[in-house]
C-alpha cells in the first residue's frame, strides 16, 4: 500500500531526489523500530524487572538486587517445576521425536499414493494444537471418554488420565505422538529425496538390505537435519505451555507445572512480577544457549 503511494509520488517528482544515503534507513526503519520495541526493549526490561519488587501500577517498585533470584531458586515449587520440565522434555523425546523420522523413512519406500499419504499426514497438523488437546481432553473423559471405553474392552483401566499424578504427564504428551509433526515429516522426506537415487540403487546391487540401507545410507545423510530438528524440538519441549495449560493448568498437585507455567502463574496469578522476571531470565539463558548452538551449527553446515 504505502509502497504504491510512494511510487506515484516518484513519478511526479524527478526521480533523482529519492536516491540518498537515507534510503536504506527508510527501508529499515519499520523493522528497526519494531525489533527495538518488541524484542530489545522487553529484553532489557526483563533483566531490569528481575532486580525490583516490580509494581505494574507504579513502576518500578523497590530495588531488591538479587533477592528475587534468591527467593525462587531454593524453593520446592521451582525445583519441582524444573524437574517436571525436564521430565516432560524427555517424555516428548522418547515418545514423539522419532515418529516423523520413521514415517518419512516409510514414505521413502512408497511410490504410488505417496503425495496422498503426505497430504493425509498433514491433516492432523491443520487442526490448531489447542483444539487437538481439547479433543484428547474429551477422549480422556473418565465417564464418557472414548479411550477408557476401548481400553476397557481390552481389559485395561479405567484410568483417571488427567487426575492421576502418575499418568498426567504421559497423557499430556500422547496427543503429540500423532498430531503435530506433519511439517517434520515433509522435512525428513525431502532430506531422503535429496539422496541421489543411483546411490541407493548401487547399495542394492552391493546387497545392502533395507535395514543396512537405513543405517548406512539414509540416516547418515539425514544426520544434519535430524540434529537441527532435535535442537529445535528440545527448545520447544523445554518451553511447553499450551497443552499443559489447556489440559491440567499445572495440576493435579503441581505434577504438571513446568517452568513456563510457573512463570505464568507467578506473574498473572500471584502478581509477583519481579520474581517471575527472574525465573524468565534463567529460562532465557537456558533456551538462548540452546538456540545459539543451533544457529552456529546450521551456519557452519551452510558453508
Amino acid at each position: 500500500m504505502q509502497a504504491s503511494v510512494v511510487t506515484e509520488a516518484v513519478r511526479a517528482k524527478p526521480a533523482r531526489r529519492l536516491h540518498g544515503w537515507w534510503m536504506p534507513i527508510a527501508f529499515l526503519l519499520p523493522s528497526l523500530v519494531s525489533f527495538a520495541l518488541f524484542k530489545y526493549y522487553p529484553l532489557f526490561k526483563l533483566f531490569y524487572m528481575s532486580f525490583f519488587a516490580y509494581q505494574v501500577a507504579s513502576p518500578p517498585g523497590d530495588f531488591v538486587g538479587f533477592h528475587n533470584y534468591a527467593e525462587f531458586l531454593g524453593t520446592d515449587s521451582f525445583m519441582l517445576a524444573l524437574r517436571n520440565t525436564f521430565v516432560f522434555a524427555l517424555l516428548f523425546l522418547a515418545m514423539t521425536f522419532w515418529v516423523p523420522i520413521v514415517q518419512a523413512l516409510l514414505l521413502g519406500e512408497i511410490g504410488r499414493g505417496n503425495s496422498t499419504f503426505r497430504f493425509l499426514y498433514q491433516i492432523p497438523s491443520i487442526v490448531p494444537y489447542v483444539v487437538t488437546v481439547l479433543i484428547w481432553k474429551w477422549m480422556y473423559n473418565p465417564d464418557f471418554g472414548l479411550l477408557n471405553y476401548y481400553l476397557g474392552k481390552l481389559g485395561l483401566g479405567p484410568y483417571l488420565w488427567l487426575n492421576n499424578i502418575h499418568m498426567t504427564k504421559f497423557a499430556i504428551v500422547l496427543p503429540s505422538l500423532v498430531a503435530t509433526q506433519g511439517i517434520s515429516i515433509l522435512l525428513y522426506y525431502s532430506a531422503i529425496r535429496g539422496i541421489p537415487q543411483d546411490m541407493l540403487e548401487a547399495a542394492k546391487v552391493d546387497g545392502a538390505g533395507p535395514w543396512k540401507r537405513i543405517t548406512a545410507l539414509l540416516v547418515p545423510n539425514m544426520r544434519f537435519i535430524i540434529f537441527i530438528q532435535f535442537v529445535g524440538f528440545m527448545t520447544g519441549a523445554l518451553l511447553i505451555f499450551d497443552p499443559i495449560y489447556v489440559m491440567t493448568q499445572g495440576g493435579p498437585a503441581e505434577s504438571t507445572t513446568t517452568v513456563s507455567l510457573h512463570i505464568y502463574n507467578t506473574a498473572f496469578y500471584q502478581y509477583r512480577f519481579g520474581v517471575s522476571a527472574a525465573i524468565s531470565v534463567v529460562m532465557f539463558a537456558i533456551t538462548g544457549l540452546i538456540t545459539y548452538a543451533q544457529l552456529r551449527l546450521s551456519k557452519s553446515a551452510d558453508g
Partner: protein, 452 residues
C-alpha cells in the same frame, strides 16, 4: 508401456515386495491412528446432548427429530392473540425442557379453531438452547411463568409466531385419526409430548394431531447455533460470540502476515541491496536474527509490561504488533533477495529508477514465491497461537478462536458438541491454506527447515 519399461530397468531385490507391504501397512496405520481424534471431533460436533454423553460411545450421531403439534381451540372462548401465543410457547418450551436431552431438532405448533388455521409457531434447537437458561431454567413449570417469559422470547426472537387471525386464516380440518396416529407411550418423543399435554393441563388447546419426522439439517445445529449460544452464555453481557472471535482470529492472522511481509520485505531488501558496507550488513543481520534466540516464554512477561506501557493491553493491536518482529522473516527475505540478479537492479538504477520503485516494480514481483512462503508459514503459528492472546486479550471482545475454545471448555456447563463444532470451524481456514498451497508449504519447509 513406459512404466513397464522402467520397471525392467530397475534392479529388483529379493524381499522388495515385503518391504513395500510393510511400508504401506505401517503408513496406513499411522494415518488412521492420527485421523481417529479428528473423526471423533467431527462426529461429536454433529451430536445432540444425549448422544454426546452416550456410553458406550457412539460414532454415528442420531438423527434429530422434528415434532409437529396441532392444537385445536374449537369450542373455547375467543381470546386475544397473546393468549394463543402464550399457549403455543408453553406447548413448545415446556415439554421440550422435560425432554431436553433427547434429540429434538425443532418443535412446530399450529393452532386451529373452528376449522381455520389461526397461528403457527416454531422453535429451533439453537434458539431453545440459547434461551433455555432464561426461559425454562428448571423443570418446575407453571401457567403463570410464561407471562414473564414471553417478553424474553419475543425480545431475543427465540421462537417464531405467525398470527393469522381468528376469522381470516386458511381452512384447516383436523384429520379424524390424527390424534390416534401418534403412538402413545413413553417410548417415542411424540408420545412423551402427548403425555405432557394430557396430564399437566398447562396447555389450553386440545391436541388434534402430533407427528414426528427426522430432520437432517438439525445435525448441524451445533454449527448453526454456535454464535448465538456463545453470545448468550458470555458473562459480562458483552454480546460477543463465536463469530466475533473468529473475525478476531482472521484479523490478527492477516494483520500479522501483512505487516510481516511489508516490514520484513523492506528490511530484507535493504540489507541485501541497499547497504553496501559488508560490516554494516553483518551487524544488521545480527541485530535481526539474534532475536531468534529469545524464547517466547521468557518474553511473555516483559512484553506484557511493554504492551501495557504502550496502552495496547486488551486490544487486537496488542496481539498483532509483536508479530512484526520475527527474526526469521527478515532472514528469509534477505536470503531470497540475495539471489536476485544484481545486474537487473543495477540497470534499473542507472535508468534513474528510485529505490522504492525498483523494490516495488522489479524486486517484489520477482519475489512472489518468497512472499507466499512467508505468508503461509506465518499463517499456521499465528492462527494457532494461544499463549500470547491469553496474556493480552482480557475481555471477551478480543478473544481469538483458540482462546475462546479453551474458555468454553472451562465453563461449568460446557457442551462438548458445541466445543467440537468450534474446533471443526477453527480448522477450516488452515485446511483451505493447505489445499491451495501445499506446494509452497513444502517449499517453505526446505527454506526454513534448516533454520528450525
Amino acid at each position: 508401456m513406459k512404466v513397464e519399461k522402467m520397471k525392467q530397468n530397475r534392479i529388483r531385490e529379493t524381499g522388495e515386495r515385503t518391504i513395500k507391504l510393510v511400508s504401506y501397512s505401517l503408513t496406513i496405520l499411522f494415518v488412521l491412528v492420527s485421523l481417529i481424534p479428528l473423526a471423533w471431533m467431527v462426529s461429536s460436533s454433529l451430536k445432540d446432548d444425549k448422544a454426546i454423553r452416550a456410553y458406550p460411545p457412539q460414532w454415528l450421531p442420531s438423527l434429530p427429530r422434528s415434532i409437529q403439534v396441532t392444537l385445536d381451540y374449537t369450542g373455547m372462548d375467543e381470546a386475544a392473540s397473546e393468549f394463543y401465543e402464550k399457549d403455543a410457547m408453553k406447548a413448545m418450551w415446556y415439554p421440550w425442557v422435560l425432554n431436553k436431552l433427547e434429540g429434538i431438532g425443532e418443535v412446530k405448533v399450529r393452532g386451529i379453531k373452528d376449522g381455520r388455521l389461526i397461528y403457527s409457531a416454531r422453535t429451533t434447537k439453537p434458539n431453545f438452547l440459547a434461551g433455555q437458561t432464561r426461559v425454562v431454567p428448571t423443570s418446575i413449570l407453571s401457567d403463570r411463568m410464561m407471562d414473564s417469559k414471553l417478553p424474553i422470547i419475543r425480545d431475543k426472537k427465540l421462537s417464531s409466531f405467525q398470527w393469522y387471525g381468528l376469522a381470516r386464516g386458511p381452512d384447516e380440518r383436523p384429520s379424524p385419526d390424527a390424534a390416534a396416529s401418534a403412538a402413545v407411550g413413553e417410548e417415542t418423543l411424540s408420545g412423551r409430548f402427548l403425555t405432557f399435554y394430557a396430564s399437566k393441563g398447562l396447555v389450553q388447546g386440545k391436541v388434534a394431531a402430533i407427528a414426528e419426522t427426522p430432520k437432517l439439517l438439525s445435525l448441524f445445529d451445533s454449527f448453526l447455533g454456535l454464535n448465538k449460544l456463545t453470545q448468550s452464555s458470555s458473562q459480562e453481557g458483552s454480546g460477543s460470540g463465536f463469530g466475533r472471535w473468529f473475525a478476531n482470529s482472521v484479523t490478527v492472522t492477516l494483520g500479522s502476515i501483512a505487516s510481516q511481509l511489508f516490514f520484513g520485505g523492506l528490511a530484507g531488501y535493504a540489507i541485501s541491496h541497499l547497504v553496501h558496507s559488508r560490516r554494516l550488513k553483518t551487524m544488521l543481520l545480527m541485530f535481526f536474527t539474534a532475536t531468534l534466540m529469545i524464547s517466547d516464554t521468557s518474553m511473555m512477561l516483559p512484553l506484557y509490561v511493554t504492551i501495557n506501557e504502550l496502552h495496547l493491553m486488551d486490544t487486537l493491536w496488542g496481539i498483532i504488533l509483536p508479530h512484526t518482529a520475527w527474526g526469521i522473516v527478515v532472514f528469509l527475505f534477505k536470503g531470497f533477495f540475495d539471489q536476485l540478479p544484481k545486474e537487473l537492479l543495477q540497470a534499473a538504477k542507472v535508468d534513474g529508477a528510485a529505490d522504492f520503485r525498483i523494490f516495488y516494480q522489479i524486486a517484489a514481483p520477482m519475489s512472489i514465491p518468497i512472499f507466499t512462503v512467508v505468508g503461509v508459514m506465518t499463517f499456521l503459528p499465528v492462527w494457532n497461537e494461544f499463549m500470547w492472546p491469553l496474556v493480552v486479550a482480557k475481555s471477551q471482545d478480543n478473544w481469538t478462536v483458540t482462546l475462546a475454545l479453551n474458555n468454553i471448555s472451562l465453563s461449568k456447563n460446557a457442551s462438548q458438541n458445541l466445543l467440537m463444532a468450534g474446533g471443526v470451524i477453527s480448522m477450516i481456514p488452515l485446511l483451505l491454506v493447505f489445499l491451495t498451497s501445499q506446494k509452497y508449504i513444502e517449499k517453505g519447509v526446505s527454506f526454513t527447515g534448516v533454520k528450525g
